[in-house]
Symmetry: C2
Subunit: 200 residues, 2 copies
């Protein structure tokens, strides 16, 4: 089962965290639309009424999971892009970290990435803004590398899209125990992306 | 709506094709588990009883869609890998075709790629075999290029996984009207993959 403590250190109280973890499992298993608030509450060991103390609706639980995942992704990417080394070293860190996260957290990542269409319009706008900022960070890092003569890229937006896409899709196919494991997969993907960008 | 004629030229009669198209739309919209046979039949302009003339269950409709999609993917990849030119030219054809397909057919591709866990065990085995053969074809092409000195790759299985993953994930993010369009996106992805493989 999804470990709530590990995923959402900042969410309080623990009951809200347990509900989010139960929702991740249910959404990943059967999809948002086939999951009821009762399913989520029961899996978290609560009554449906207790769920409403913490979340006004099933959609609000999805939004909490999705926003948190997207904020985490943006923070990871921003931190790697602003890290030490030249743009190629920073890109390797970014790809390794983002890939490893999608392998280790593939269950929550599937919900974050595949249930976007189930978000309410206002919630979707918040998440779409986080996604745009994440993508812009990757573009800017590619552009910085190209300006330094470290990367050779014909089309920066398409390359940025491809890099994020490669990392995100790990959540779809990764299974626990797969070889290479999350960390080593991250390192190998970082090398593939460096080659893709013509890193010297 | 999904165009049934275009997607399944070989499926007979037309009623079965219409049911598969209606199921693609419903599964893509709400997921397999939240869709009923009644939803599918109604969207295809039929009664639930009429659906059972063509498919014994909702799971059988999913399997028909999934198997057909995976057979199509294997045929595309096999044909490109056996095509003219050196391994780099064949890999470019493979990636361009596979990417364009996932952009143009993103709705059916989402069902094919994201509802694997909803397949019945025997059906899953059929599909898993098609997936293994598709992946093996890509690995063999990379290995052929490495043997010819055209590609420089440290880890062939991971590179094959990454290439397929890059193409498949297009189905997740592609939206009609996106720029570049499906064909041009395919060409640009082909160049990114060629660089990733160190193609000379």
């Amino acid at each position: 089962m999804t470990d709530p403590v590990d995923l959402w250190p900042d969410v309080r109280p623990d009951a809200a965290k347990r509900l989010m973890a139960a929702a991740v499992d249910a959404f990943a298993e059967r999809g948002f639309h086939a999951t009821t608030t009762r399913d989520i509450a029961t899996a978290a060991g609560m009554s449906p009424a207790a769920l409403y103390v913490h979340f006004p609706s099933k959609a609000a639980v999805l939004f909490a999971i999705s926003r948190s995942g997207h904020e985490r992704a943006l923070a990871m990417v921003t931190s790697a892009a602003a890290g030490p080394g030249d743009p190629a070293a920073r890109m390797r860190d970014l790809v390794a970290g983002f890939t490893t996260w999608h392998a280790t957290r593939h269950r929550v990542a599937r919900v974050v990435q595949y249930e976007l269409h189930a978000l309410r319009p206002d919630d979707f706008e918040v998440v779409a803004d986080l996604r745009r900022r994440t993508e812009r960070t990757v573009r800017d890092l590619i552009a910085a590398g190209a300006a330094d003569g470290v990367f050779t890229v014909a089309d920066t937006p398409t390359a940025a899209r491809a890099i994020l896409s490669l990392c995100v899709d790990v959540a779809r196919w990764y299974a626990p125990g797969a070889k290479p494991g999350p960390e080593e997969l991250g390192r190998r993907y970082a090398e593939l992306v460096a080659a893709m960008l013509g890193a010297r």
